[in-house]
């Protein structure tokens, strides 16, 4: 190394010690690398664009209908980043500079990788890069149910299952990446080691249906658990509120003769109205309307729980409780409110 480059080297080292390389002046904490470069490198850290063959070198590692958990190899992603950075270093002095700067840049990417996925309404998280885990899932469920809900927790969430804890909650583990790599392959990366993982059927498309149970003579019994349309809670046969769908009264769903699967809506609605405590009536003044019918027919999204410990997943149906406004009266009140608000 010549004398000139030696002095350059010394100045660079001193400058580095004084945090002189400040390029991203616009962000709150100035960073050495510009935002654009950091964004690319953090996306690389999250394995964006990495060929699937490099992730899973052999199909036997991810058979059909399987889920595979893993730890992310930080050395691998660091090598990936170093490879990308090596594009800019052509000679010895540039490599020397890069060696001086690299530890700092690495820390900045650690910060930036948490910004890779930032859903609306969630505060940004920072901090040093910790352990990243994740899973690969290859299943027809990924292809047929787009928009699965993936939630990872450090501790099993409390009883109030219907409350969705925000991602910034300490009990919850942030999703660093969630993407379908192929129509039936899902990749998820977590910012930590989850002890409980929930995979839930997509919620945006709430579904309607009945419970089907085969009876002894080959026929099928179909019913829905009774719900009060005012409170949206389950009610027992006596009309008192109960906690689970199993305790709720079973309202038979009628079918048309000669047409399999076609619901006889009129009689089913009559059954709904006749059940105690549903708050529905079929009288001419207050006929059963579409919202009331839909509320009774709502089916829960299924939630699969993966847990390290042998915790009971509980009753799956508790995962989801619809909350409808008091349909007949509250609807008018809400509309009035909205009109008043303009």
């Amino acid at each position: 190394m010549s004398i000139a480059s030696m002095s350059t080297y010394a100045i660079l080292s001193a400058a580095l010690a004084d945090k002189a390389f400040v390029a991203g002046g616009s962000t709150a904490t100035p960073t050495i690398a510009p935002e654009k470069i950091l964004r690319f490198l953090s996306r690389l850290r999250m394995l964006e664009g990495v060929p699937f063959n490099n992730l899973v070198p052999d199909p036997e590692l991810l058979p059909i209908e399987s889920i595979r958990f893993f730890f992310l190899d930080r050395a691998w992603t660091d090598a990936l980043v170093q490879g990308a950075m090596s594009v800019a270093t052509a000679n010895t002095i540039e490599r020397a500079q890069m060696e001086q700067l690299y530890p700092k840049i690495e820390k900045e990417i650690d910060d930036a990788e948490r910004r890779y996925r930032s859903p609306g309404g969630e505060p940004l998280l920072g901090g040093t890069a910790g352990l990243v885990t994740g899973f690969l899932m290859r299943s027809a469920a990924v292809a047929g149910w787009p928009g699965l809900h993936i939630r990872a927790y450090r501790t099993e969430p409390a009883d109030s299952d219907e409350e969705i804890v925000p991602e910034s909650d300490p009990g919850r583990i942030k999703l660093l990446r969630l993407e379908r790599l192929a129509p039936s392959v899902l990749l998820a990366l977590f910012d930590g080691v989850p002890s409980v993982l929930h995979i839930e059927e997509p919620r945006q498309g709430v579904q309607y249906g009945v419970r089907l149970e085969e009876t002894a003579n080959g026929l099928w019994k179909s019913f829905v658990p009774a719900r009060n349309v005012q409170s949206a809670g389950y009610v027992s046969a006596a009309g008192t509120p109960v906690g689970t769908s199993i305790q709720a009264a079973e309202i038979a769903v009628s079918f048309r003769r000669g047409a399999a699967g076609v619901i006889d809506m009129t009689n089913t609605a009559r059954n709904f109205a006749a059940a105690t405590g549903t708050g529905m009536s079929s009288g001419p003044t207050d006929p059963i309307d579409g919202a009331e019918f839909a509320l009774q027919m709502i089916r829960f999204p299924y939630r699969q729980v993966f847990a390290q410990s042998e915790t009971s997943p509980g009753i799956q149906n508790d995962a989801f409780k619809p909350t409808a406004l008091t349909v007949s009266q509250g609807y008018a009140r809400l509309l009035a409110l909205k009109i008043a608000e303009g």
Binding site: F40, A79, K221, G290
Partner: protein, 708 residues
Amino acid sequence: MVARGKFFLYDSIVPALEAGDYTMNVSIGLDTTGDGVDEGDLPTAPLATHINVTAPRFKLPPDQALMTFPPANSEGAYESRLPQIVLKKRTLPWDRKAAPTGRIIKTQRVEERTPWLALVVIAEGEGQVVHDKPWEECITPGVTLIGRVDTPRASYLSVPQSTVDAIFPTIEDLAMLTHVREVNLDDTEAAMGDDDGFLAVVIANRMPQFDTVNCKPKAYTACLVNLEGQLDALPAKTPPRPFFDVADLFLTETVARIAGSASSGAAVPLITNGEPRLLDAGNRGAMLDAVRRGEVVFHEGALVDRAAIGADGGASRLGMISAEDFLDGNFATIAGAAAGIETLRVAGTFRAFDFPLHFLVQEQFFRFPVLTSWRFTCAGDGSFEQLMRNLDVGLLGTKAEGGYQRPLANCVQPVGGDDPGAAPVTKLPLEIAETGHISVPHLTRTGTRELSWYRGPFSPHQLLRNPLASETPFPVLAHISDHLRMMTPDGREDVSLAVAFETGRLLAMSQPSFVAALMRWRDEAFGAARARQVQKFGITDRLGLLDRFVDPGVLEKFDTALFLGSLGRELESSLLGEIERQKLRVVGNPRPLADVALAIPELGGDVNRFMAEGLGLDLRIVSLIAEAPDNPRIMTLLQAAEPGLASDTRLELDERVTARIETTLEAGLAVLATVAVGREDFDLRTIDRLKEPESLGAFEFDRFGRVR
């Protein structure tokens, strides 16, 4: 706004105006009481404004369908779920009226909230969806629609009366099957294009069923149909029935038989070029030839001529024949019934026959315009719950024998006999190390074929980030991928990290913008930072300029400001401001924009006279030129004039100056003479005495007294 994870349900949102053409008539009446004016004297013209309220009618715009369940072209266990479609426009189901409000049809009253849309689910063989027909054909003959139509060509659903009675909802059902949902948009994928969170939902009244009779998955088509003007076709209320049997799936024996034949013809290739022809079934030789050529095929009791095109473009169905007769080549039964040939159409390469139902079922057919339709298959198994419960769970690197085999439906008869075993394996078994590495074939640079270890970024174990950090000679930062190649104890190479490095390099190289950004960063940020650093070392503020002129707020963040280069700017602008405020003290009086000219007294007086004297011309001529510069006579005069000294002027100089000039001239002349002649005294005969010097040295010595 609704809270996250919650939603509101509304029965219906009926628009103030249903779709159609309106004329708004405006007339103004003037009150003229007490003005003494007749109202007839102040006529105002009525104003007729036309308003057109539009809504989809025959075709659903693609952006209006937000979601369908079951997903289009999907396969799964949907037996306990009702198909539905989510529409973007909340008033869409009530934008039109299927019948006027208050009309009583089959003891049911049409309400204001009765929608004009219904989602009907048609099993394969129950009806037929026909696409791309003129809109006039898309409705049952005899039903007229008033008003605008949104598309010239549309699709329709052709169903017999029995199907309508069996599966269509009643008028009272329609209102129950439609509602409006208000959802929170925060946690959805940008609300899937909707803006206010209100969605209209249309549910079907039928749960798709697995075909347990034939033990086959059953294909269904869900159609969003327009019911305008056809409410009276809908079924009446039916008596209750608490159970249903899957054997009810088919309408009649005939349809069941044909449908079975149709579904088994799944692999019949599409015929694109055929000619209308009528095979003579009585000619046994010709028939056998056609069978040998594959043109005439046998499908579960039906004989179909694939090469011929029927009246409506489908394959000709020659008739029913028993398998024994077909194998024997006995076509007598067909020949006897050749009069009424029915045609079948092959709709696609791997789709079933799409046969015109009205050839088979003699009853009234209805046509309902289809706004949108999608197909799905109800298989016996494959619900979300079942799939998730049967996932093969493990850490990466777990070797599973095979994936989850979907269980067969419980109607499938068990097959006896020995297990044929797995298919022969053609590749070596995968070698998986306990660390998650697998053995991969590696063609090295030298051309040898080896086995190397490779592991992707996913490992079954928790790993140290930099396992070699403690070993100082090992480079912290790799510059080429070879830095990261490692040898494992078993003598094979581990190329995992080297592959990662190379992948990262190639990914970076594949994005020219990133490479450019990287180079720019090096060029600009590094150079600038170095300059700033040098600059920082050189700052000595003896005059206290920073304290005096820079905003204390900036000084607090001195380092940052210095690095960002804003300190210099601050100082500069403060200084300029200060100078501007005290410019008299700092700079002095401002210089005037223009200097006042000095007066020259000699130039006073007659300008013409000056000119004439200076140029030596006659004053008269100059005066004439000044008066009339264009006169050619004067130019002639000017040419004829002889310039001359108009006057002599004696210049009086100071005596000292004169004396100085003379002395200087004398001295100069003497030097010249000395150089030219030599150091002799100069008289009249000097020239005669002059001799040629013998050399340049002698000449110089003589003239200048120098010896070289």
